[in-house]
Symmetry: C2
Subunit: 207 residues, 2 copies
DNA sequence: TCTCGTATTGCCCATGTGGCTAATAGTCAT
DNA sequence: ATGACTATTAGCCACATGGGCAATACGAGA
């Protein structure tokens, strides 16, 4: 028999971590070698344990899962990371895969699917739930917002007017307006209010 | 030794359910007698097993956890339900407690806290995480939106203008405007866009 | 009964919004 | 280096917005 796959769990939900650890450790093919609840502890435990695969939650306090993923891969490019998420927000998936995640699975997946995904990751493959793949395909047009537009969208959500945005960004109100117009076009919405809604739905805006 | 507390788990995340079941069953004081992944199966399993306590997730597909709670208590007023949530949205907590939940615990709680909460529920008490209690207190002014205002807010999020809202609700644009003004006042925001943001943050609006 | 909150309607007005069109400059990849 | 994209600025215009102020009607609860 092969040696078990060594796993690091990173999730801010203690109950979920305990549950996952329990489930995975009861399978001789796996061995949980560490549990982290935030970005720092994830990086620290990875460096110490060098696990074969990291299960990383997308939603985490302070530094979110995507950013944790980026920092982890910057230090350890060889890391195999399987993102585990309760949300199916398109932006999270896009960013996670672009940042170099080896896979993305939602928490609605059956235990057997999760186990299969871990194995694929460990063997060097890429895993994406079929449902998620469809959502990505629907979107993958030129509708990605530029960094500046994301910045503006984050001001709109706070109730800023175009003049407000202009003042805060040190640009003219014409430019602010141009950014807003670009956002409305790309998100395919009629006004700034619907843009904020779409922003939340797509994961561009965080709570 | 007492007979174990009989538990029903309701959560659409299979991994979380499996984990919880694993964890709780390993404690002789508890016994998981059923697992449900949506409203229907929760009601069915409750009727069949009559568990001592139900662990119910707030976020569920189609019919959400709060509505499931309402339907469950309508048929079985004696049910002891502990809401288990990954969100700390104020509205969810408010509605859950008002609907008659015996407790509300976030998934960031340690396993020991969860176990303590289950016991308190079983013994007839009420449990709310201290952090949540503070959030509720901050809010508990007259800032609850009326049903009509919730309706209007759900139109605003789609980019509706006041005339649009008026047409859809069969009222004049003056009335629509009055509703919007009331929403802005109650949510303490400057415009409809920020109102939508606050709506998402408070759990008044769902993805 | 009387009051409070909700839902409804109305008007005035300064300001903001979004569509349209158009131009310049920098960056980046082909 | 040529094109594509982004960021920037600009003006015009019909329409929507939100503040202020005021009134009526209805049901629930004290």
């Amino acid at each position: 028999m092969k040696t078990p796959v060594r796993l690091l769990l990173a999730d801010d939900h203690a109950v979920m971590r305990a549950g996952l650890a329990n489930m995975l450790n009861s399978n001789p093919a796996f061995r949980v070698v560490g549990e982290a609840d935030d970005c720092d502890s994830t990086l620290k435990l990875y460096a110490r344990e060098k696990p074969d695969v990291v299960l990383l939650d997308v939603v985490m306090p302070c530094v979110d899962g995507i950013e944790t993923l980026r920092r982890l891969l910057a230090r350890h490019p060889e890391a195999r990371v399987l993102m585990l998420s309760s949300s199916d927000a398109e932006e999270d998936i896009r960013q996670a895969l672009q940042a170099g995640a080896a896979g993305y699975v939602t928490k609605t997946a059956r235990p057997a699917e999760l186990i299969a995904a871990i194995n694929v990751c460990h063997e060097g493959g890429r895993v994406i739930s079929p449902i998620l793949e469809r959502k990505l395909a629907e979107q993958a047009d030129g509708s990605a917002l530029s960094p500046r537009e994301i910045e503006v969208l984050n001001l709109l959500r706070k109730g800023m007017t175009n003049p407000d945005v202009a003042r805060l960004l040190g640009i003219t109100r014409h430019t602010a307006k141009a950014h807003v117009a670009a956002i409305l076009l790309k998100l395919d919405v009629v006004d700034r209010t619907e843009a904020v809604t779409r922003g939340f739905e797509r994961g561009l805006l965080k709570m």
